[in-house]
C-alpha cells in the first residue's frame, strides 16, 4: 500500500516545486530582454500580415449619427498645464501654428484657419482604446496626405512624427513629453486626418484641442492629441527612448493595429 502513497507524495512534492519554480522563473522570464524581443516578433508578423491582407486603403467602418457615444471618454492628458499651451487656449488658439518640417522640401507653418481651408474629411468612426473600451464620435479635419504632399516629402522620409503639448510624466530629459510616430503609408490613408472638430463642435481641450490625429485603423494611443509640430523622419531611434512614441517607450506596441 506504500506505492500509491509514495507516488502521490512524489507527485504533490513535484507539483509544488514546479509551481514555485514557475512563479519564480516567471518574473525572470517576463523581465528578460531576449524573451521580450522574441515576443515582439509576433507584433512585426501582425504588422506585415495586416499590410498584406488589410491593404493600404481599406477603410475603417463608418457609422450613422445615431451611433455617436454620449460618453466618449477622454484618456491621458485632459488639459496640458504648460503656460504656453494655456496661453494658446486662452486666445482660442488664434496664435497657434502647426509646424510641418523635418525631411520635407517646403516646411509649412499653418494657422487653424489654414488647416480648416485645407482638403478636409468628415467621418463617424469608432475609437478603440488599448484598455479595451470603445466610443464613437464624428470627426472633421484636414487630410494629412495632401498636407504632406504640399510640404513635399524627401525620398528618405519613412515615418511621420507628431510632437504634442502635453507632458504625461515629468522627467529631466523631456522623455515624458507625448509624441507619436506612424508609417508614411498610414499617414496617406484617406481617413487619416488632423481633426479640429468633434461632433460638429470645435475639438474640446479634453480631446486634444486644437487638433488631434485620427488614425482610424489603429489604437487610441497612436492618435496624438494637442499636436504642435509634425516632422517627416527617417528613423525614430533618436526620439524619446527610441521606441517610436510615449507609450511605446513604456512597453506598448508601436504598430498597435490589434
Amino acid at each position: 500500500m506504500t506505492a500509491p502513497t509514495t507516488r502521490r507524495a512524489w507527485l504533490r512534492g513535484g507539483l509544488t516545486t514546479a509551481a514555485g519554480l514557475a512563479v519564480a522563473s516567471c518574473d525572470k522570464l517576463t523581465q528578460s530582454p531576449q524573451v521580450n524581443a522574441t515576443l515582439d516578433g509576433a507584433e512585426s508578423l501582425n504588422r506585415r500580415l495586416h499590410g498584406l491582407f488589410v491593404g493600404r486603403s481599406a477603410l475603417a467602418r463608418e457609422y450613422d449619427r445615431s451611433a455617436i457615444s454620449p460618453d466618449f471618454r477622454a484618456n491621458g492628458t485632459t488639459n496640458p498645464d504648460s503656460e504656453e499651451y494655456q496661453a494658446l487656449a486662452a486666445g482660442g488658439f488664434a496664435d497657434w501654428r502647426l509646424q510641418i518640417g523635418g525631411l520635407v522640401e517646403r516646411p509649412l507653418s499653418l494657422s487653424l484657419a489654414d488647416l480648416q481651408a485645407a482638403p478636409a474629411r468628415s467621418q463617424i468612426t469608432r475609437h478603440d482604446c488599448v484598455e479595451g473600451w470603445s466610443s464613437i464620435a464624428q470627426w472633421r479635419g484636414a487630410r494629412l496626405g495632401p498636407l504632406l504632399t504640399r510640404a513635399g516629402l524627401k525620398p528618405q522620409a519613412r515615418y511621420i512624427a507628431f510632437f504634442c503639448a502635453d507632458t504625461l510624466e515629468l522627467t529631466l530629459d523631456g522623455s515624458g513629453d507625448y509624441y507619436e510616430t506612424i508609417a508614411i503609408a498610414d499617414a496617406f490613408h484617406p481617413q487619416t486626418i488632423l481633426a479640429y472638430e468633434m461632433n460638429d463642435a470645435p475639438l474640446p481641450v479634453a480631446h486634444g484641442a486644437p487638433i488631434r490625429l485620427r488614425l482610424e485603423r489603429q489604437l487610441g494611443y497612436k492618435m496624438a492629441k494637442y499636436v504642435m509640430r509634425i516632422e517627416a523622419i527617417d528613423s525614430f531611434e533618436t526620439l524619446g527612448r527610441g521606441r517610436g512614441g510615449y507609450w511605446e517607450d513604456r512597453g506598448y506596441q508601436w504598430y498597435a493595429g490589434i
Binding site: 512563479v23 516567471c26 518574473d27 517576463t30 523581465q31 521580450n36 522574441t38 515576443l39 515582439d40 516578433g41 509576433a42 507584433e43 508578423l45 501582425n46 495586416h50 491582407f53 488589410v54 491593404g55 481599406a58 477603410l59 475603417a60 467602418r61 457609422y63 451611433a67 457615444s69 460618453d71 471618454r73 469608432r126 478603440d128 482604446c129 488599448v130 484598455e131 479595451g132 473600451w133 470603445s134 466610443s135 464613437i136 482610424e216 485603423r217 489603429q218 489604437l219 507609450w247 513604456r250 512597453g251 506598448y252 506596441q253 493595429g257 490589434i258
Partner: protein
C-alpha cells in the same frame, strides 16, 4: 496503427492517441494557460463588459468596481446581472507580491506578468495567440484529412439513442470497459465537439474582431454584434474553456490519472476487460 498488447488480468494495452494529437494537446494547454493569464492582465486595465459597439461606461453588463474605503484600504465589488457581491481580497482589491492591499481587478498570482503591465500582457497574449492558432490549425488539418476527427468526435446513431444510459453510467462514475473503452463515450463526444469546433474557433474570431486593423477588412465586429460584444464574448468563451478544463481534469482524476496521462504522453491506454454482468 500499432497492435494491441495483452496484459495480465485480461487487461489490454491499446494505442489510443497518435503523436500529432498528443503534441498538439500539450502545446494547446501551454498556450491556453499563457493566453488566460495574459488575458487577465489585459482585463485589469478596464475590468468592465458591455454589449454592442461601444462602452456605456455608466451601465456595464458586468464590472469589477474598486473604491477607497474610509480607512484608506481599497474595497471592491463584482457587479453582474443578478449579482452584486463584495470581492475585496480577490477581485478588484487584493494583496500584491509584497503583501500590500492594492486596487487591481485580478490578483497578481493570476496575471502574466504579475505586476500591472498592459503592454507586457499584450506582448505575451499576441505571441501565444499565434502558437495557439498554428497548433490548432495543425490539429484540425491532420484530424480532418485523416478523417480521425469525424470518426472520433461525431457520436454514432447508436450512441445518441443510448444517451440516457451513458448519463446514468457517468453520474455513477462507471467508466467504460472492454471494446467500449476504445472510443470516446457519447458525453465526451458531445463535449469535445463544441469545444473544438465552437469555443476554440470563437476565441480566435472574437479576438480578431477586436483588432481595428482587421476590422477594416473583415467587419467581424459588426457580424458579431459590435466590438464590445466581441470583447464580452471573448471573455465568456474563455470562462467556458476554464469550466471545460476543470471538468476535464476532474474526469481524468476520477477515470484513473496515471492511465489517462500516459495515454496522452505515450499514446498507450490500458482498457479493463468487460464485466460479465454489464447490461
Amino acid at each position: 496503427m500499432p497492435l494491441d498488447k495483452p496484459l495480465e488480468g485480461g487487461r489490454l494495452l491499446v494505442f489510443r492517441h497518435p503523436a500529432v494529437v498528443r503534441i498538439t494537446h500539450w502545446v494547446n494547454l501551454a498556450s491556453l494557460v499563457v493566453l488566460l493569464l495574459s488575458g487577465l492582465q489585459i482585463l485589469c486595465s478596464h475590468p468592465a463588459f458591455y454589449w454592442g459597439e461601444t462602452a456605456r461606461f455608466a451601465e456595464p453588463f458586468a464590472a469589477i468596481v474598486s473604491e477607497m474605503g474610509n480607512d484608506g484600504e481599497p474595497r471592491s465589488r463584482l457587479i453582474a446581472p443578478g449579482l452584486n457581491i463584495d470581492t475585496t481580497g480577490l477581485l478588484g482589491a487584493s494583496k500584491n507580491a509584497d503583501g500590500l492591499m492594492t486596487s487591481r481587478a485580478i490578483p497578481h498570482w493570476l496575471t502574466l506578468p504579475g505586476e500591472l503591465d498592459l503592454g507586457a500582457g499584450r506582448r505575451w497574449h499576441f505571441f501565444f495567440a499565434w502558437l495557439f492558432v498554428l497548433n490548432g490549425a495543425l490539429y484540425l488539418a491532420t484530424g480532418l484529412l485523416s478523417r480521425r476527427l469525424q470518426r472520433e468526435l461525431v457520436p454514432t446513431r447508436d450512441q445518441l439513442s443510448h444517451i440516457g444510459h451513458a448519463l446514468r453510467d457517468h453520474l455513477r462514475l462507471r467508466f467504460a470497459r472492454g471494446e467500449e473503452a476504445r472510443r470516446y463515450n457519447v458525453l465526451q463526444k458531445l463535449t469535445y465537439l463544441p469545444v473544438v469546433f465552437g469555443l476554440l474557433p470563437l476565441m480566435v474570431l472574437t479576438g480578431l474582431a477586436m483588432s481595428p486593423a482587421v476590422d477594416a477588412r473583415l467587419h467581424l465586429a459588426m457580424v458579431l454584434g459590435g466590438r464590445q460584444t466581441a470583447r464580452t464574448l471573448h471573455f465568456l468563451c474563455a470562462s467556458g474553456l476554464v469550466a471545460f478544463v476543470v471538468v476535464h481534469v476532474g474526469m481524468v482524476v476520477l477515470a484513473g490519472p496515471v492511465n489517462e496521462l500516459r495515454s496522452m504522453i505515450t499514446g498507450w491506454f490500458v482498457i479493463k476487460p468487460a464485466e460479465e454482468d454489464t447490461p
